[in-house]
């Protein structure tokens, strides 16, 4: 199995957020993780990437047990995360941000080449490469966040609400970027409040409810969509 989570419990102090999450994620897929506000989607992603420590349960990525490992070791295995809320490094330039994306690698020449490639792939970043990233617009910052994550050369990318706060046009652009990355072989776990966007690009849908995966179906399976809609519209 590519990513396998078994009976995962995560608390914040006395507050239980995840209460026995189990899920299997296949390689090469876009997996959509849905759930109401506060249901623990971000918590789950952060636990996979090592920012949160689980109380019990296990997380396996390609035969390696992730829980208990430090986040920098998890990254080295090929799991990267885009955090909720466009977390760039505001007092650094675009290029310095991209360099940080390659922090865990050494080959300077290769990194420089990849930064060039990234600037070509996302021309807005190329144009503003010397700018402080805090001066970028929201959409540009989101592009930078994605480019940063790509610089890690991960095999699995955990994306937490990449479309948050973007205009409809930019949302479509992000969707295109995600499908493009997936076609290039990147496996993606996507948390997305924009149901239409999420369902249009996902292969598999998971719904988090009451601290567990309440539903798991192919995105072609309409009952899954209905279930998800019920959660979002309340019912």
């Amino acid at each position: 199995m590519f990513l396998s989570i078994r009976d995962l419990y995560v608390n914040y102090g006395k507050f239980e957020v995840l209460k026995g999450v189990s899920m299997e994620i296949e390689e090469g897929k876009i997996s959509l993780l849905l759930g109401a506000n506060g249901s623990g989607k971000s918590t789950l992603l952060k636990t996979i990437s090592g920012l949160n420590r689980p109380l019990s349960g296990s997380i396996w990525f390609q035969e390696t047990r992730l829980n208990g490992m430090a986040s920098y070791d998890i990254l080295r295995l090929g799991v990267a995360q885009i955090l909720e809320g466009r977390r760039i490094f505001p007092h650094m330039t675009v290029v310095e941000n991209l360099e940080l994306g390659a922090y865990s690698r050494r080959n300077k020449r290769e990194i420089a080449r990849e930064i060039e490639a990234m600037c070509e792939r996302f021309p807005i970043l190329g144009k503003k490469r010397k700018e402080q990233s805090s001066n970028l617009s929201g959409g540009e910052q989101q592009t930078l966040v994605i480019a940063l994550a790509l610089m890690t050369k991960a095999k699995l990318l955990l994306m937490d609400e990449p479309s948050q706060g973007l205009s409809p046009l930019l949302v479509n652009e992000v969707a295109d970027t995600i499908t493009g990355l997936n076609k290039d072989g990147l496996s993606i776990v996507l948390v997305e409040h924009n149901l239409r966007l999420g369902l249009s690009i996902a292969d598999q849908v998971y719904v988090l409810e009451n601290g567990k995966i309440a539903f798991d179906a192919s995105s072609k399976d309409l009952s899954g969509v209905e279930y998800a809609q019920k959660i979002y519209l309340g019912g």
Binding site: L75, I88, F89, P90, H91, E96, G101, S104
Partner: protein
């Protein structure tokens, strides 16, 4: 006129000591989120160790300075690794721990080497424009250290990781930055600066167990005035405070010399709650 210039010069000298300690505390506070009062004790212990190295082992002053920085670095590393790290996220415990370390170590120094002041032997003779070479050396070394710290933070890979972690800790971690390493380095840097300040100031005054109290308090004022996280702000505030209090002592009343800092602090914070250069 001459006395004015002399006083400004002396203010800059004592101000560079404040700025050095403040820079270390500032970097630690803004990045590791620990108000590290123990830097005041590191200042003292480093001064004593370098004093013994010079008087007993007869090593040259420059090496004693390096030794003092190493001692400071080592102490700060140990404090972080075995104490502060344990209570990461529990700010109040860390604060208490920092204060406890400060008193504990000044008392240890008192117990080991008594309260009697020790005189650091002069290592340079002569003077220029009315300032002894030893006083000028303080400013020169402090300036060099400031430049080195700046280059370290701006140009090296670990310096970049430190900045990244201070701007967005979680994002830095998921990009592979080891927050424990960052904290260790930051504490070692702070300890080295406090150690340097202690060794630099020793030949100008005397060495005694409470010699770190005032520099620590003044450095805290500088950190708060300078706003967290700005190297330039710390430098300007440190030097400015040194000059103002020396002028205050010379022209107003020397009885209040150590009170001016707090008067300035209260006035500035009343009007600018974020300090003079605050970003946060």
């Amino acid at each position: 006129m001459d006395t004015l210039l002399l006083q400004i010069g002396n203010g800059l000298i004592i101000g560079s000591i404040y700025a050095l300690v403040a820079l270390g505390i500032n970097v630690i506070w803004s990045i590791a989120d620990v108000p590290d009062f123990s830097q005041g004790a590191i200042f003292v212990v480093s001064a004593y160790i370098s004093y013994f190295a010079v008087t007993l082992a007869k090593i040259p002053y420059v090496l004693a300075l390096v030794l003092g920085m190493c001692v400071g670095s080592f102490m700060a590393f140990i404090f972080e690794r075995f104490l502060y790290r344990r209570w990461r996220g529990a700010g109040r415990v860390q604060l208490l721990c920092a204060i406890a370390l400060f008193f504990l170590w000044t008392n240890v120094v008192n117990a080991l080497w008594t309260a009697k002041a020790k005189m650091f032997p002069a290592y340079l003779k002569g003077s220029m424009f009315g300032f002894s070479y030893m006083r000028i050396a303080v400013v020169v070394v402090a300036a060099i250290l400031f430049v080195l710290v700046y280059l370290f933070i701006m140009k090296t890979k670990i310096g970049k990781a430190i900045r990244a972690a201070s701007q967005e800790s979680e994002a830095a971690q998921v990009l592979g930055i080891n927050i424990n390493t960052v904290n260790s380095v930051v504490f070692m840097l702070g300890g080295a600066l406090s150690g340097a300040a202690g060794v630099l100031v020793s030949p100008l005054y005397a060495i005694f167990p409470t010699m770190g109290d005032l520099p620590l308090l003044k450095a805290l004022v500088v950190v708060i005035l300078g706003g967290f996280g700005t190297v330039g702000g710390v430098l300007i505030c440190g030097l400015g405070l040194g000059v103002l209090e020396t002028l205050g002592a010379g022209y107003l009343s020397s009885a209040y010399q150590h009170g001016y800092a707090f008067v300035i602090l209260i006035i500035v914070l009343t009007f600018l709650p974020k300090g003079l250069f605050g970003k946060v």
